[in-house]
Symmetry: C2
Subunit: 211 residues, 2 copies
């Protein structure tokens, strides 16, 4: 099978969300055109993306909504549950516990970690805060397979090293800094400052072109 690009996977996630919506609304079949419109891409993009993984449609008719939903779930690993740890019991880390979309897609936040002794042992929205030093032990006990890093930039690399040592192979980083991980570990970054700066660039560059 050819190499799949990250953009394809990103789009599959979005198609998946659309299919959940179509399914809830009782739609039975859906065309690449309808999926495309709902996601701001072209129909051929949708078909190309899906064709990386098989032949899911019927010519002349389109795709069966609930069947395609299940296929994409299997591709993305959403047919099962995942135990996730959040490292950093600050504002962002705590807010993410109650992010509904996570739970609905089978991502269960089973532990929070922090190094602040005052926070350790507390319960935040039903989740216990553990000592970051106990990460390896708890990760094994609770079969944690993913970690979300929500600590300040300056401590992020140390934290990510501890996560890697604990055997976790998938990391979502919210700290605004570049992190290095061994290549058998998958790292994704969400950098909110970068996004806002992209907006300010758009605003100032529009001003320039207008004058």
């Amino acid at each position: 099978m050819a190499k799949i690009s990250e953009s394809t996977i990103r789009r599959l996630s979005k198609y998946y969300r659309s299919l959940l919506y179509f399914d809830r609304n009782g739609m039975e079949m859906v065309s690449s055109k309808a999926l495309a419109e709902r996601n701001g891409v072209t129909p051929v993009q949708v078909r190309k993306d899906l064709s990386c993984f098989g032949h899911f449609g019927t010519r002349g008719l389109g795709y069966n909504v609930s069947q395609l939903r299940r296929e994409i779930a299997k591709i993305l690993g959403l047919h099962r549950n995942w135990n996730v740890a959040i490292i950093g019991a600050g504002h962002i880390g705590t807010a993410l516990i109650s992010y509904k979309e996570f739970g609905e897609q089978g991502f269960h936040i089973v532990a929070l970690f922090d190094r602040n002794p005052e926070k350790i042992g507390q319960i935040r929205r039903r989740v216990r805060v553990y000592d970051i030093g106990d990460l390896s032990k708890i990760a094994e006990e609770k079969r944690i397979e993913m970690a979300i890093i929500a600590v300040p930039a300056q401590s992020a690399q140390a934290v990510v090293d501890a996560v890697v040592t604990s055997g976790i192979k998938a990391i979502l980083n919210f700290a605004p800094t570049n992190l290095s991980v061994p290549k058998d570990v998958t790292l994704r970054n969400v950098n909110m400052a970068v996004e806002l700066e992209g907006l300010s660039y758009a605003l100032v560059s529009k001003e320039l072109t207008r004058s």
Copy 2:
């Protein structure tokens, strides 16, 4: 000037952050190689990115740290302050108020908006919650130029329409859904569920190739 890609702008934001760090550590000159290593890209990528906007370096010596930092700040619009509104006073919206990186880069959260009457009038971390119905009025009064959408997916399009009506031209969307805006409005999306699903895909596809 040639069209600048979004990836170039993203990387510029990251270089900017590295330059802040180098500057604080008293470094005077920096090479494209050093900037590249800190950001996980190649030196030639750094030079290409910078060359879109001018000749900032000196051959044989590299770039002057504080001068390049100022140049990038000007390009990205970080030489001035921006007033930002957060729409949705839920967990995520509230957590973002105290995200340090925003304030440090000149993004000031000046208002929260919600439609829940119980929340309206409250103060959350020094920021007042306003009625979403008063968006246009407050946006003008407080000269708000950017909005962060932190509401559930099903209300996001209605909210974004109100934001557009109020004259705001830059929107950062945290709701896990595709939004449409007129083309003079810049929209960026942060979809945390998509990122986590990318991780689960990586984990399941690794398992498959191993077996």
